[in-house]
């Protein structure tokens, strides 16, 4: 479809782009930067309202460079929810005041646009461009509080690690392009399917694992995650643990599904071991953490391991559904947990787990909601995390990946130990500090919304599964 006809289906993205530029302009005019944030939020709501139900057959907008199908539409929704929640969390984050707050919201509108292009990327050029777009914005946002030493360190580490991983992925792409003479995924699939081309296809696939494994913090490419998640401003951390990871999974699913078909069944073994490695490393290291952001960073690495379970069995539809449901459950759970961390950290001035002692008396609502999110991360019914875990476990059992199921079950038990440790600190350790003031309305609102999502998915699974899977 040519560019002019395409614009008709591209309205939400245009609204986001126009909103981003207007936000920077408003930042010039307005003294109260919070208004720019409200405008950014309004833009996202407008874009969300303009989202149309996905067409039955996919639309190839702009000569196929923006591939709009049900899958892309789903991730459009996910991206908009993640960005809107992040902006709400940022409203209650005081270190951001007087530090380019307006630009912060503007960059997040660009981020929403970037995430959507990732979801709709269907050829090598667009995959690389859009993933880099998200990465560049992530580096910037991680180091946004530039007077903070940890933030600086995290941004530089993120940049160096990300550039190397992108370079490796680009090399793999160049090989695939050289073999197929085309950047389109279906054309590449036809070429690498022949036995003579299989070793080359394998290299290309491994390079994809490096580049996208970095985005989803898959072991052994997870080393950046704890430092970046600890150093970045808390709202940015909340965002980074969810959205780029989900979109990384989206690209990986698209590449695996459309390029590497039946003849590449060996990669399932590779993915299975990577999944085991990721969840085990994440869980074992999370046990000894004392900083809540670092703790949730390792927990998010472990969660990536569980999501990979659904990918390891990939050609099975159950695995694909499992990944999608897990990503949505994880979106609400982790954003909610970080909303609490951000608002508690803002009021106590510390991100240490020790400062959560007696939180049930000092801030009963925050403590109760945090408990809900931690229980959902553990996978306790009737919360969203349980449904998600149920799906990926079912997919692994169906594919007869018994080793994977056993390891994942043991891992879940280990994870329960350290999640409950935080709950114990909040409820059983006596408070040694005074009660906390009430959180700002925005922070309370986003926490309650995320809790509603977690409980909603858990209590009405049928409704949400239909909504997500169509």
């Amino acid at each position: 479809m040519g560019p002019v006809e395409s614009l008709r289906h591209f309205i939400p993205e245009l609204v986001l782009l126009g909103g981003a530029f207007t936000a920077f302009f408003l930042d010039f005019l307005l003294k109260n930067k919070r208004l720019v944030g409200y405008f950014a939020l309004l833009t996202i709501v407008a874009a969300a309202c303009l989202l149309k139900a996905p067409p039955k057959e996919s639309l190839d907008l702009f000569y196929g460079f923006f591939h709009l199908d049900g899958f892309a539409n789903l991730f459009r929704v996910l991206a908009l929810i993640a960005v809107a929640a992040t902006i709400l969390i940022a409203f209650g984050f005081s270190p951001l005041r007087d530090r380019y707050e307006g630009e912060f919201y503007g960059l997040f509108l660009f981020m929403a646009f970037a995430l959507i292009t990732v979801a709709a990327a269907n050829n090598l050029l667009m995959i690389f461009l859009s993933v880099e777009f998200v990465s560049i914005l992530s580096y910037l946002l991680a180091g946004f509080l530039k007077n903070d030493l940890k933030a600086k360190e995290s941004a530089v580490k993120y940049l160096l690690f990300g550039s190397v991983c992108s370079a490796v992925m680009l090399y793999g792409m160049s090989l695939l392009f050289g073999a197929a003479g085309s950047i389109d995924l279906p054309a590449i699939a036809r070429v690498v399917d022949s036995p003579a081309m299989k070793p080359l296809g394998m290299i290309g696939l491994l390079c994809f694992f490096v580049g996208l494994g970095f985005k989803i913090s898959m072991a052994p490419f997870h080393m950046w995650a704890p430092d970046v998640y600890e150093g970045a401003p808390t709202p940015v951390t909340a965002f980074l643990t969810v959205a780029p990871k989900a979109l990384g999974f989206a690209v990986l699913m698209r590449v695996l599904a459309s390029v590497f078909g039946e003849s590449y069944r060996d990669w399932r073994q590779v993915l299975m071991w990577l999944s085991i490695l990721t969840m085990t490393l994440g869980n074992l290291t999370a046990i000894s953490q004392t900083n809540i952001k670092r703790f949730l960073a390792y927990s998010s690495i472990a969660q990536a391991g569980y999501i990979l379970m659904g990918l390891a069995v990939f050609p099975s539809p159950l695995g694909k559904d499992g990944v999608l449901i897990y990503l949505f459950a994880y979106l609400f759970t982790n954003l909610g947990a970080f909303a609490v961390v951000s608002s508690v950290g803002d009021r106590t001035g510390s991100d240490e787990i020790a400062s959560y002692s007696g939180l049930s008396e000092r801030a009963p609502v925050s403590a109760a909601l945090m408990t809900v999110f931690l229980l959902s991360l553990t996978g306790i019914p009737p919360l969203a995390g349980f449904l998600a875990k149920y799906y990926v476990f079912a997919a692994a059992v169906e594919a007869r990946f018994i080793t994977l199921v056993v390891v994942a079950a043991v891992n879940s038990a280990v994870a329960a130990y350290y999640y409950f440790r935080v709950i114990r600190t909040m409820y059983l350790v006596p408070a040694d500090q005074p009660a906390l003031p009430k959180p700002p309305v925005s922070a309370a609102a986003v926490t309650w919304l995320m809790a509603a999502g977690v409980l909603g998915i858990g209590l009405f699974p049928g409704f949400f599964i239909k909504l997500i899977l169509g």
């Binding site: 560019p3 910037l140 946004f144 073999a179 003479g181």
Partner: protein, 171 residues
């Protein structure tokens, strides 16, 4: 004619090898200034390779943008930063040796696979000459979406760079 072809081939391989050696220099030399000069030379070598493959426009852009602008800025930054030009920093640590071994194995495996792969050659593209006008038409036609996306990426990166570089009000 055979000798001529042979000479051209040797020349091209020498060019590739030289570019690679210079690239190794970028990441091993102990002096930052020397590394930057090596980087400039590497980029010129790459531009020469583009010329060999009949991508004249790309070669010109490569020299203009990378050698002319990017490396110049890097060298300026090195010279304007105090005590950074004459200092020598070791670019290796205790993990260099295991990393080197791993890379050698990787190169061996990849090289073997690349040599065994039957690369398809499209006869239509062998003699094809792409003019600047063709490139422009493609960028404004089929490739208009990625082209515009790159502009958005550049604007976002530019805004971010200004924020990172700007002095902050003391808090």
């Amino acid at each position: 004619m055979d000798i001529l072809n042979f000479g051209i081939k040797v020349g091209i391989y020498a060019l590739m090898a030289g570019t690679l050696v210079l690239a190794v220099g970028v990441v091993t030399l102990r002096n930052l200034f020397h590394s930057a000069l090596c980087l400039a030379a590497t980029l010129i070598g790459t531009a020469a390779l583009y010329l060999v493959f009949h991508a004249e426009f790309l070669a010109a852009v490569q020299i203009l943008l990378y050698v002319g602008a990017v490396v110049t800025v890097i060298i300026f930054a090195i010279m304007l930063t105090e005590h950074i030009a004459e200092r020598s920093v070791a670019q290796r640590n205790r993990q260099s040796l295991p990393a080197l071994l791993g890379i050698l194995v990787l190169i061996a495996v990849t090289g073997r696979i690349l040599l065994k792969t039957p690369w398809a050659v499209n006869p239509a593209t062998v003699g094809a000459r792409v003019t600047v006008a063709d490139l422009g038409a493609a960028l404004m036609g089929t490739y208009v979406f990625p082209f515009e996306l790159v502009s958005v990426i550049l604007i976002a990166a530019l805004i971010g760079a200004v924020i990172v570089a700007k002095k902050e009000k003391s808090s």
